[in-house]
């Protein structure tokens, strides 16, 4: 009987858990109806042309394209989503021209009899503009897989958050958190080594295996953060089975002049201050030479939950990056360096001594120690430094082909300090240094009628060292790793159809060695080989409707901790041990997206299925370990077959030129197909909806927006068989934000005020590892000032 009920759970959409979310939407729906019925009165010259400008090759929106109606000598500029509108048109025939730097001019004739909608697909200008190629320098992800990005205003409004928190604005992306400061992005239920982060084109290699190891990335560096939701192993190498996060800095200037940006952010919760500066310019002596320097810092104290301060949750961050680039007709080169440095406090109560400690604090439901506000950070804490040095070049051959070179060097230093006795408090209990060299070479062949594509080679070499002297037997060994991959991708484009396929072969060699707890030398050598492939397509049924599908395979060799773990995990009073004989995980992800871009209504629905064979997970055994320190649960890494599927929804509707409604939601199901269990830590069904009130101009203030939104998160009813405590109940959060742009001469000031958790609701999030004994952040008021010069 029980088995049967379990089965029905995965198939039947859980209406019950979304019911409260729908209820909250009802009010908004009523408002919409009222506005719709009052907003429009007919006048002779009140037709509107709306449209979207996108890159022809990848459907990415183009911001700042110039749209001009010849007959009226009237024009406008596309916004960050590529959208534009021209109001107050009379009935008649017009010719519209769209121009964008580095692209061929697009012209269309339209007859206006009613409101119209047009999409302009801009083709890259292969005949280089003024000898300088602009678009080729962008690392825009060109794929048939579903891509969602944060750019422009949306990015501005989320400044000051960490990468994980920022990405939550994309439906289907959530976070896996450890307390208030550590957030790992989760794409379609997968995180850590099952997704990939491309930091300025280089695959980020930190100690990603740990759930408390947040990505070492400064989001201030980026002007675009995109999420590719498909399996992208072929393009980017092993581990990209759940998706890829692409963090792109702006392109370097190629003409003379200096511009810059200053961001100042203050937040009430944690009483944190964040500052960021970004200056870029081009040389007036050497044409095509540009540079950028950028720095950001953050200083924050204890985070407040509605009823208490969370002890030791302060944060420090200091980041720097610099880039130098040169661009000519044929050659483009870039040198980039970045440093990310952070100190993170970890909630003291999370470090439990044994199982009865853990059970006591879970029963208490909140930390035992009463904390006050302080900026001080004590143990347990993390000190992390990540350096990245990158050199990149491309060269256009005379036959139209292009050769790309990219080299990256990364150094990741991670120190974790525990609460210990005496002098040991000043010694890291975990002290790791990870060096990674990556070399990517690729050749894009000349476009032949409908075909273009590339072949490439990527080499990765990695060294992991434990810095001796921790006084703790290391959790993971020292190792050398080499990965060699070859790939070929080919794309066919004809009319409204794009088809793309690719193949890749990877060979990985790992040589690991360590002393185990019994002081015996353990040495293991591994070789992993794998083929992966993908096939995808995009078809534009009409100007408004686009369908895309992508089927890709992916693989992930077992993490070093999954193979070698043998020791105590204090946060979960668990003794974990790995299995050195694991096979690689094999994933097959099929993702489909339906997208409608209309006059006033936009809608995107994504559905996916991800089958992962040999899925590695931490299984609670029923055994316990008794020691002088007390009792511990024994957890063992095991392999099974997992199946994940889900839906992402994004939609917005312009009720009135001054009022917009949006909604985004995600639903996900994950099952262990061998044992019929639910997988642990799978994001809960959620829906967020909001109303934005927009005013183009109020006095000197432009692009004014006020948004009120609601996030409804259900309770996780598909819990794994074992958990320390039942899943927390669902919750509702109300958030609001407002922002405006003020022109000051040629410069621009952007001021934003946001309040999250307006009602100071006390709640727990299922995806927080500390949910057993702590609540999420209470009300937080953030003031942002950004000055562009």
């Amino acid at each position: 009987m029980l088995h049967k009920r379990d089965k029905s759970n995965i198939i039947v959409f859980d209406f019950e858990s979304l019911f409260m979310a729908i209820k909250s939407l009802l009010l908004i729906q009523i408002l919409i109806t009222i506005f719709c019925n009052t907003a429009f009165s007919k006048e002779p010259c009140n037709f509107t042309v709306r449209g979207k400008v996108i890159h022809d090759e990848n459907n990415e929106p183009i911001e700042d394209a110039y749209i001009w109606i010849n007959e009226l000598e009237k024009g406008t500029i596309s916004d960050e989503k590529g959208n534009f509108r021209i109001d107050d048109l009379c009935k008649g025939s017009y010719s519209i021209k769209v121009t964008f730097l580095g692209h061929q001019e697009e012209k269309k004739k339209i007859d206006i009899e009613r409101n119209a909608s047009i999409t302009f697909r801009m083709k890259g200008d292969d005949v280089l503009l003024e000898g300088i190629e602009i678009h080729g320098h962008r690392d825009a992800v060109i794929t048939t897989s579903t891509v969602s990005s944060l750019t422009g205003r949306i990015l501005d409004e989320s400044r000051g958050k960490n990468l994980g928190e920022m990405l939550k604005q994309i439906s289907g992306v959530t976070t896996f958190t450890t307390g208030a400061n550590i957030a790992k992005p989760v794409i379609h239920g997968l995180h850590s080594n099952r997704i990939m982060i491309l930091n300025n084109g280089i695959r980020q290699e930190g100690q990603q295996w740990g759930s408390e190891h947040a990505p070492e990335i400064d989001p201030f560096m980026a002007d675009e953060i995109a999420v590719v939701k498909g399996a992208e192993t072929v393009r980017f190498g092993p581990e990209a089975m759940g998706g890829v996060i692409v963090v792109n800095p702006p392109s370097l200037p190629v003409s003379k002049g200096i511009k810059g940006e200053v961001n100042l952010i203050g937040a009430s919760n944690g009483r944190s201050g964040t500052a960021a500066v970004n200056i870029s310019g081009g040389s007036d002596k050497i044409k095509g030479l540009g540079y950028r320097i950028q720095s950001s810092g953050k200083y924050g104290g204890n985070i407040r939950s509605p009823d208490y301060f969370q002890s030791n949750t302060g944060v420090r961050e200091l980041n720097f990056s610099g880039a130098l680039g040169y661009s000519s007709t044929r050659l483009g080169m870039e040198l980039f360096y970045s440093r990310f440095q952070t100190t993170l406090g970890i909630l003291g109560d999370a470090h439990t001594g044994n199982l009865s400690d853990l059970q006591a604090i879970i029963e208490n439901g909140r930390p035992f120690r009463e904390a006050d506000f302080t900026y001080d950070i004590v143990n347990p804490r993390q000190e992390v430094i990540h350096d990245l040095l990158k050199a990149k070049a491309h060269y256009h051959l005379s036959n139209g082909a292009k050769f790309n070179f990219q080299y990256g060097f990364q150094q990741n230093q991670r120190q974790e300090f525990d609460k210990r006795r005496g002098e040991l408090n000043n010694r890291a209990a975990l002290d790791l240094e990870l060096f990674t060299n990556t070399l990517d070479l690729s050749y894009d062949h000349a476009t032949r009628k409908h075909w273009n594509g590339s072949v490439g080679l990527s080499v990765m070499q990695q060294v992991n060292n434990n810095i001796p002297g921790t006084g703790v037997t290391p959790l993971i060994p020292n190792y050398d790793m080499y990965n060699l991959g070859f790939f070929a991708i080919e794309k066919f484009t004809k009319g409204h159809l794009e088809l793309e396929g690719g193949l890749r072969y990877d060979h990985r060699f790992v040589d690991a060695v360590r002393f185990n707890q019994n002081q015996e030398l353990e040495k293991k050598i591994y070789t992993f080989r794998n083929f992966t492939a993908f096939l995808g397509g995009i078809y534009s049924i009409s100007q408004n409707i686009t369908l895309s599908t992508n089927f890709g395979s992916a693989w992930r060799p077992p993490n070093i901790n999954e193979q070698f773990s043998q020791g105590l995990h204090h946060g979960s009073a668990a003794y974990e041990y790995g299995n050195p004989d694991f096979k690689s995980e094999q994933a097959y992800k099929w993702i489909n997206t339906f997208s409608y871009t209309g006059n006033r209504f936009n809608f995107e629905l994504t559905g996916y299925l991800n089958q992962i064979n040999h899925y590695i997970y931490l299984n609670p055994t029923e055994e316990q370990l008794v020691s002088l320190r007390g009792t511990f649960n024994i957890f063992q890494y095991e392999q099974t077959n997992a199946r994940l599927w889900g839906l992402d929804l994004t939609s917005n509707y312009e009720i009135h030129p001054n009022l917009e409604w949006y909604a985004r939601g995600a639903l996900i199901r994950a099952k262990d197909m061998v044992h019929g269990n639910n997988l642990p830590f799978i994001p809960v069904d959620r829906i967020e909806s909001g109303l934005t009130f927009k005013m183009k101009q109020v006095g000197k203030l432009t692009q004014n927006r006020i948004t009120l939104s609601n996030l409804a998160v259900a309770q996780q009813k598909r819990e794994p068989d074992f958990d320390f405590a039942p899943a927390p109940s669902g919750y509702h959060l109300w958030n609001m934000s407002m922002s405006t742009y003020i022109p000051i001469g040629d410069n621009k000031l952007n001021v934003g005020l946001a309040v999250t958790n307006v009602l100071d609701t006390a709640y727990k999030e299922y995806m927080n590892r500390f949910r057993y004994f702590s609540h999420e952040m209470g009300r937080n008021i953030t003031l942002r000032i950004k000055y562009n010069f």
């Binding site: 060269y395 080299y407 703790v472 060994p477 002081q519």
Partner: protein, 204 residues
């Protein structure tokens, strides 16, 4: 121009080749586990009416876990069997890390404001209790530690067997209400974590 470009490319490639070649893992260094307690010794000594230990009366009870916290081994725990009804004893606790060959007692004494022992189990708490513990030491702030204390055995004990649980708390709030009671059963509420949680059997 073309030559220059090649030069630039090779300028990028050459240093990279060096970095690729020079990076190899270090030989691992065995770590001596510093945080482990492999032996807990309870030293009981009978005391006279003036609380002065009677010479030659001391005896030791030991709990050992030679490998520290690792799979497959359970600690060996002696039975406390030499206490006599109606008598008073001094109890001193010493802790030893056999892996690093270190006397952990000294470390606890140095960080005494961050450590406190609690004495629980059926021999000390509840209706059948027949032992009474009292702290006989204090830290820099005048709060008890429990490295040294006194135990009185009930003269008319209704039971002659029970458990004797020793818990060492690290980083707890000693000012928490009730935290100065050696038999404080809700010691978790004072925060901190257990460095030691071992249960002896006791028979009179």
């Amino acid at each position: 121009m073309k030559k220059l470009n090649l030069k630039l490319l090779s300028a990028l490639l050459v240093p990279m080749a060096f970095i690729l070649a020079s990076c190899e893992k270090d030989d691992p260094v065995p770590e001596v586990d510093q945080e482990v307690i492999t032996a807990v010794t309870l030293t009981f000594a009978e005391v006279d009416d003036a609380d002065v230990p009677v010479a030659g009366s001391a005896f030791e009870v030991v709990a050992r876990d030679v490998e520290g916290i690792s799979l497959g081994n359970s600690p060996e725990i002696d039975v406390i069997s030499s206490l006599e009804a109606g008598k008073k004893y001094q109890l001193e606790i010493s802790l030893y890390n056999g892996i690093a060959d270190e006397d952990v007692t000294v470390e606890v004494a140095e960080d005494d404001t961050e450590h406190q022992f609690y004495f629980l189990g059926s021999a000390l708490v509840g209706e059948a209790a027949f032992l009474t513990y009292a702290y006989n030491d204090s830290d820099g702030n005048g709060n008890p530690v429990g490295l040294k204390g006194n135990i009185a055995v009930d003269e008319s004990a209704t039971s002659n067997a029970g458990t004797f649980r020793v818990v060492l708390r690290h980083d707890s709030n000693k000012d928490f209400t009730g935290a100065d009671d050696p038999n404080f059963e809700n010691f978790e509420q004072a925060g901190g974590e257990s460095d030691l949680d071992v249960t002896f059997q006791v028979t009179l």
